[in-house]
Symmetry: C2
Subunit: 320 residues, 2 copies
Amino acid sequence: MKEYNEYLQLVKDAISNIRLPQQPAGLYDPIRYTLDCGGKRLRPVLTLAACQAMGKEPMTAIHQAIAIEMFHNFTLLHDDVMDNADVRRGRPTVHVKWNQETAILSGDAMLTTSTMLLAVKAGEHLAQALELFNGTAMNIYEGQQYDMDFEQRTDVTVEEYMEMIRLKTSVLLGCACAMGALMAGSPFETQVRFFDFGVNLGLAFQLQDDYLDTYGDPATFGKAIGGDILNDKKTWLLIMAMKEDESGEIASLLGHTDNPQEKIERVRAVYDRLNLPERIHELISAYIDSAIKNLDHLELGPEARAFFMDVALKSATRNK
Amino acid sequence: MKEYNEYLQLVKDAISNIRLPQQPAGLYDPIRYTLDCGGKRLRPVLTLAACQAMGKEPMTAIHQAIAIEMFHNFTLLHDDVMDNADVRRGRPTVHVKWNQETAILSGDAMLTTSTMLLAVKAGEHLAQALELFNGTAMNIYEGQQYDMDFEQRTDVTVEEYMEMIRLKTSVLLGCACAMGALMAGSPFETQVRFFDFGVNLGLAFQLQDDYLDTYGDPATFGKAIGGDILNDKKTWLLIMAMKEDESGEIASLLGHTDNPQEKIERVRAVYDRLNLPERIHELISAYIDSAIKNLDHLELGPEARAFFMDVALKSATRNK
């Protein structure tokens, strides 16, 4: 096994070797801009690591790894249009820097390009790789639709929320892990274990994201704290508070933005009173435990096990 | 070989048998609505006919045929968002009936679904079918980008215009024909001949579309005449007129919409003076001749030849 940063370097090199046409620039420049976003490239790193953990050279799965990263960046591009988000990782989003038509069309081209990459040197695994990839993509669209639906609803349950984040963000981590095992020629059962590991990791990751948006340190988190609260975003924290807060405080604060700082502090005080910071970390730990159980079933070598344990534990305790 | 309407019935049955999930309704209802648009289903009919012309049962290619129809409808859905079009085939477009977020996300799901359909029972042809399909998709995005770019330019040449419509609309007809031959197991050279037949057919088809938008009979054409003129759309007719009209009449009319009926009549008078209606039909005939030459090289049986000849000649002489 390699270190995280070594897999990352392989991914970076492969992304910079993707040759897109120069013309029409209006179509391809936004794709280059989007791919050039940096980021930790967690998904393709997981694909390469899973492939190596199953005994094959990590480069066996490199095209499938960057296909998943390309797909991930496509979803961010279109989500930013749908959410009307102006900034992504400190840079203007594509629909701001260019325009909305460009963002839609370049995103479509990224989706098709991701399928093209998936097929490169997939060999005998092509049909299964496509099935895994396309099935995951449909789940992600469903998750995004539920996320948009929830904005209009006040009765979202915590079960519905967990299912939404499973679809919207976790299955792609599952797909990334399973894809590496698939490309290594592992049996279906192994692929499923890797998939479940990734899904549990993804759920822990997203819950930690919810926590950091409210409780993170602005200096390390890299963006302003309290955005979810100000937008009344139905995260695990808010859904639990809406269900359990009997004082009426939460209900009275929803929809108001006249005093942002006060709103953040008052909502946070309710969360604290309900002990939600501690409870969300118990839940995160439970998902990490489930992820580790999946690892146990895989019976990996010590190096591979240590690698995936490390990714799981860092995701649960990250502060940025 | 079968009649056009018999292939059409196979396509209609297959489309109505596509089983999409019920939930989330916000994602899947717009897809059902889009697929339920009717239309002549020219592309999938060509796929089935090409498959049968090459000696296989047409149903051999049914999933690939409806994959192409699904893809075509996805492009119309996203194009309508980009062009801000309110009506498609007499019905409100998806972004009008629902909203823009829905139109983007449902379109993404249609694109992924089309790739899923393409893989169904593709067997040993999967890798080649994907390559043909994805390469065509990239061409179509490029064509759409050029079309948008041309709106901002006044120096578009007729060669650039022909390349744009080749990419935006013709290659998908080529892909539809070639896909049928591919699924029938025909050699690559045969696939290329079918592809070229479809491209030439598509160019003739699009030029006839340009002609009808200005010279069609509103009663049979099914929509108002003169829309391209009022929007200063750079069709073959306008590009030729901008190049050849030395009176300055065309230049003076661009950008003005205060008297629509007068504008249509005055632009049409310039087209008439330059003999453009006759010249565009000479060009259409030349593309149909090229399409027929492709048929000659294919050495089809008499029934198959008659079928494709009929489609080509009807496309060139249609009045709706």
